[in-house]
Structure formats: structure tokens, C-alpha cells
Subunit: 156 residues, 2 copies
Amino acid sequence: METTDLLTIGEVAQRSGYPPSALRYYEREGLLRTTRTSGGQRRYERSVLRRLAFIRAARTIGVGLDEVREGLDELPDGRTPTKADWTRLSRSWRGRLDEQIQALVALRDGLDSCIGCGCLSLQRCRLYNPEDRVAELGPGARLLPPMLRRSPAEGV
Amino acid sequence: METTDLLTIGEVAQRSGYPPSALRYYEREGLLRTTRTSGGQRRYERSVLRRLAFIRAARTIGVGLDEVREGLDELPDGRTPTKADWTRLSRSWRGRLDEQIQALVALRDGLDSCIGCGCLSLQRCRLYNPEDRVAELGPGARLLPPMLRRSPAEGV
DNA sequence: GTGCGACTTGAAGTCAGCTTCAGGTCAAGG
DNA sequence: CCTTGACCTGAAGCTGACTTCAAGTCGCAC
């Protein structure tokens, strides 16, 4: 048995849950690095799985790929990231997550007041006339992504 | 002075905050209806402003246009929507908003445990191995949209 | 050495929710 | 009547995060 411990893209796909196309995409985007066989096929180090798990966690809380890359780039190049490295990254997202929760709670409170008032007063309704930064982000602004929208044949 | 009380697209744009392009888009998508002048220009009834405010509120809490249309379609065709109509719609979103907040709080708690453990144990980390439905929604799943991502020259 | 599944690439497609553009028309004040 | 700014249309473009496709190559078991 070989102890080289390198994984094919298919294996990484299966273990990480990311489809091969996404793995290739992440590589193109500089989020992953791979070695290649003499024939040009990708071989992944086992550590890519943790990296992918981290990417998934980041994506889940709404961090864009650009920013994920920035974060990962700050991990020291050669050495295995330490606990402190991951912790630093995680902590920076914790604050953001808090803000996002705050924003949603504020929206909910606004919605509550709207339910009470029937939203017939555009002047007074906080949801309709929010003065916070959400409103400043333009017409298309949305607080939550498609994935949390009602999915077909799941909601009821 | 005319008391026809119809608004041009420019006026609606200014009062609603939506650019004309968005208003035309919403009309194409069936979220708004307009009358036309003999020459083909749009004229909006004043009620479109409330409708737009409602659309904005919905969009803000993450409701997609398809679903906004569904909701608006349930408003009785001819008559001005009553307080009860708006309330029903708002209330249906309230539950969703709660769920979304719950999901984020769960993530935050997971992140907290990750900060504690340094996320070196992929088996144990809730964020890295979430067993809830967030994980099932696929690799690209994200809980929060671009608008809440760090904006340039604002964060620090 | 051969068969075949897993792999490779670049290019193009997808989705939502608009925006932008080109080329032309309308409406209203003077 | 004329000018000028607001308006019209359809088509194409944009962003982010991928997916899909076509056509070809690799690697490993038999």
C-alpha cells in the first residue's frame, strides 16, 4: 500500500462534498493548490480537506470567495496552520455574524411593528422606510440569499 | 391643474428610490401594472408607491421576486388592499425571518465552539460539519448575501 | 496491451436582478 | 412649430459562484 497519501479530485469531491467542478474552480481562483501527476492529473494533500471545510464554513456565513482567499492567504505559506491561525480567522467572522444577526433582528422588529400597524402608514413604518444602512444599499439590497428562500416542496 | 393623479416613471423613480430601469423590469416581471398615454409612455397610479415599498421590504428580508409576485398576486385584483391583506403577507414573512435568525444564531454558536477548539477537529466542529439543513443545500450555500459582506473602506 | 472510468482543458452556459446601450419617440414650454 | 428633456424598446451586459459541454488524455486492473 502506498503511503503517499495524495487524493484524487474524485476522492476529495466525495469527502468534502464539493463537486469536482467546484474544486477546479477554487483552484483557478487561487483558493486551493494542487500537485500534479506526470500525466497532469490533480493530486491533493490531505490538508485540503480542512481547507475546504474552512471555506465551506466561511461561505456558509456569507463570506465571499475573494475574502476567503484573503483570509487563507494570510495563513503562513509552508507550514501547517496552527490553532491560533484558524482561531484568528474565525474570530474576525464572529463579529460580522453578530452584525448580521443584529440587522435581521432589527428587521424583524420592524416587521412586527408593521404587522401591528397594517403598514398603511408609509411614513411611520420602519420596514418601509428604514433609516439604517440597509436602505442605503440600494433597491436590490437583500439580507438573505436564495438558499433560505422557500424551497419547493419543503416548506409545508 | 390636473387631478388625474398619475405619475410619470421619473416621478415614481424619485419617490420610490427605484431607478426607472428597475420599474420597467418589475413591470416586465409582472410585479407592477401601468397605464399608458396615447403616446405609449407609462403612467403610474399613486398606489404603486405602497406596492413598491412593500416590494422593497420583502426584498430586504430576502424574499425573491417570484415569491413577491405570488404574494402580490393574492391581493384582490381591483380593490385597494386592506390592512388585513398586508398584515397577512407580513406575517408570513415574520416566520421566515425568525427561521433565518435561528439559523444564524446556530452558526454563531458553532463558530464560538470553533474558536474555542481551534477548529482542528473536523469531526467535532459544528461549523465544519454542520448536520443541519444548511449543509444539505450544497457547496455554494450561503446564509448571507453580498450586501452584508465587508464593503470596501467601511469596515475598519 | 487494452479497455474503460476517471481525469484534463477552455469555452460557454446558468441564475437573479437588474443596468446599460443604441436608436428612436413623446410631451410640454416658449 | 420647435426644441429639449423625459421617455420608449429590445438586446446585450454585469456580478458571483459555479456547472456543463465537447473533445481529448490518463492510469490502473485485467
